[in-house]
């Protein structure tokens, strides 16, 4: 049974990536800007993926995320909730769009401080490229 209510420090989350400028496959890097919230917002959309199989993680992205974004998923960046907390941010479940959807919240108001927080997330994120057929 999927636990979509609580989120703990050892939970794993992922950020689906749609633009090639958000990651660098040559050195396995999710770029800091991929984690920054969009203009006028203070939250970054992620999904809780603790204990999910790889194929299911990609399926959630393909079926539930990509159609709403108007672009195919190219990759994703995985990290743990504790990494977010160590960057001075938090993760909060927000299950309206999907039972496993969450947001990274607590972004500082100062743009430069946001960049620093996003860079800390980048350093802990693991890049996974989407392979055709997955």
């Amino acid at each position: 049974m999927i636990d979509n209510v609580t989120i703990e420090s050892d939970d794993k989350i992922t950020r689906y990536l749609f633009g090639k400028n958000q990651f660098a496959s040559s050195n396995g890097r999710v770029k800091y800007s991929a984690f920054l919230p969009p203009n006028g917002k203070n939250e970054t959309s992620v999904f809780k993926i603790t204990d999910l199989k790889e194929e299911d993680i990609w399926k959630i992205g393909d079926i539930n995320v990509a159609p709403n974004r108007g672009k195919p998923i190219q990759a994703r960046g995985d990290l743990f909730v504790v990494n977010v907390q160590n960057a001075g941010l938090e993760v909060e479940m927000e299950t309206t769009p999907h039972e496993l959807h969450a947001n990274i919240i607590g972004w500082p108001d100062h743009k430069a401080a946001r960049i620093l927080s996003a860079k800390k997330l980048e350093k802990k994120a693991k890049l996974l490229l989407k392979v055709d057929g997955v």
């Binding site: 749609f18 400028n21 800091y32 969009p38 203009n39 860079k119």
Partner: protein
């Protein structure tokens, strides 16, 4: 005469680099462009790749300007990232062009990174994994952030009036351990 030797920081190779930088028509930097423009009978593949890697110690603005133009074109429309990102506006593009042309020569070629609020970032990283980022959005304000080791961080804001602010230069020198 440039052969297939590895380009290092010596007078012969600096001659080749200066020759390239003096070209009046840069165009899009490709291996063929590089070889054709220099008109040198050498192993272009090896030399071209070495030239690019050599730029870790030699900042060539045109390489970054080419990247900047590419990013601007790819992120010129709304939602370029799939998460409702704002487009990179011409004013941000032009401001970043001006800043790149004002950067000092002791740095390496940075990564050019579009940001979802329509700003453009330049990011440098050294061999120790330390990094420094500057971000512009067309309002003459530079937002910057740096990580120079465990718990050694900085961030702040400076005005851009055409010259690189001292705080930015200081952090670039810190990253590249540049001593005048």
């Amino acid at each position: 005469m440039i052969g297939t030797t590895v380009i290092g920081r010596n007078p012969l190779n600096e001659e080749a680099i200066n020759e390239y930088l003096a070209l009046k028509q840069y165009g899009h930097l490709t291996q063929n462009t590089f070889a054709t423009q220099l008109n040198k009978p050498f192993g272009t593949n090896d030399v071209f790749k070495t030239f690019l890697s050599y730029n870790r110690n030699w900042f060539a603005p045109q390489l970054v300007l080419d990247k900047l133009e590419l990013v601007h074109n790819e992120c010129a429309s709304e939602n370029w990232d799939g998460y409702d990102a704002s487009p990179i506006e011409d004013i941000a593009f032009q401001e970043m062009r001006n800043l790149i042309c004002a950067l000092p020569s002791f740095i390496s070629v940075p990564d050019v990174i579009p940001e979802p609020d329509g700003a453009i970032g330049l990011e440098w990283e050294n061999d120790e994994g330390h990094s420094f980022i500057i971000s512009l959005n067309g309002t003459n304000i530079i937002n910057y952030a740096g990580m120079f080791g465990e718990d050694i961080e900085t961030y702040g804001t400076e005005q851009f009036k055409g010259n690189i602010p001292k705080a930015i230069l200081h952090n670039l020198k810190r990253l590249f351990e540049y001593n005048e």
